[in-house]
Symmetry: C2
DNA sequence: CATTATAACGGACGTTCGTCCGTTTTCAAA
DNA sequence: TTTGAAAACGGACGAACGTCCGTTATAATG
């Protein structure tokens, strides 16, 4: 039996388990997962993981995962910084895109973009935008609005007491809504998946 | 005591618990959370939640959350479809951005974009790109590559046996790497957060 | 070689967990 | 009013859980 714990391997197995099962393994599951033959050993191991910040204990003393386990993504500076080697991976911060992009999960929706009316703002056809409908639009926001019975995406701009809806594409003229302006929500993020 | 279960309220409380604690509540926790005075009642309730697809049971019989609980985001069609009312929310599919965008969590990184070299591809300064470094670049992919000691983002294009790195901005001329071309990874997604 | 610290073993123990089942309450339909 | 179905109560039960602790094994140090 070895004396050193292979942390990268343990962490990767934990990640695997958590991302597939959406819960942490119990001690006995960890036991067979990692090849221990006693629960005591597992107990020691988990205390190390807590020290390292891989796991933590919630108010009631139960083990819960930290962001490091939650299927998130490692965070880097800018491209210039280059890429980390596997050895230094443990130092890197992990981030959940869901939590990062979505403030109000209950009131947010993912909508596929059609048309090129916002292309100059970097929003292209087939992109997905995250729309928060529980948010008051402010000058400069991109909003989903109902215009003449159809829903479109536009910049929301205040001109004195009036409101102007402007596309990010010179092909389309700005719109000044007549009576009532129905806002479906504010675009809080744009997401594009390649391939 | 009522006879009908208030599912929206139960679901919202479950979401709350899961998104904050990263685990499901135990039966006794559910009991006090929902104001039951017996575990039997909770047991009945959970079986309803399983039937409705809010929870499910994993191979070992333990309760685990479905995507509907996992802090994900509701999925809609295109903008034209308009917005759902709270009443019909239960029907909507939920999606985790992490799982949707990231195939290889272990080998993926989030990198902040500097410069405007890919602006015609809709990748703007301060966007975040998800880079998968465990993937072979193919013709047309956007890659992170080391050119003259600096890391940049470019289209990866095959010209016969040679490789051309091309920016999505006419201001920058294409680059034909001389000797070795170091690829840091393939850009698999682009993410922009507003405000 | 002797010393020391860490890791794992192997049980014992008390607690919590979730299921089960008979009973009671509530509501709606007949 | 009677009947039936669904929801919750209230406990009992066995199984699983995680902690604890003394012992043994391993490896690094000097």
């Amino acid at each position: 039996m070895p004396k050193r714990i292979n942390f990268p391997e343990v962490i990767s197995k934990l990640k695997d388990f958590y991302s597939h099962r959406k819960r942490l393994p119990s001690f006995s599951e960890l036991q067979s997962l990692l090849g221990y033959s006693s629960k005591g050993g597992v107990s020691l191991l988990t205390s190390h993981l807590v020290k390292r910040g891989i796991l933590k204990r919630d108010p009631s003393g139960k083990l819960v995962p930290t962001p490091a386990l939650e299927g998130g993504i490692k965070l880097l500076g800018t491209v210039q910084a280059g890429f980390p080697s596997p050895a230094e991976e443990e130092l890197i911060d992990t981030l959940s895109l869901d939590e990062f992009l979505i403030k109000n999960p209950q009131a947010s929706y993912l909508v596929k973009v059609t048309g090129d009316s916002m292309i100059d703002a970097g929003i292209m056809p087939d992109d997905l935008v995250i729309v928060d409908r529980g948010r008051q639009p402010r000058h400069g926001d991109i909003v989903i609005a109902e215009v003449d019975g159809a829903w479109t995406m536009k910049y929301y701009e205040k001109r004195g007491t009036k409101v102007l809806l402007r596309a990010a594409n010179k092909k389309y003229p700005p719109i000044e809504p007549k009576a009532e302006l129905v806002i479906g929500g504010v675009v809080v993020a744009n997401v594009r998946k390649y391939k």
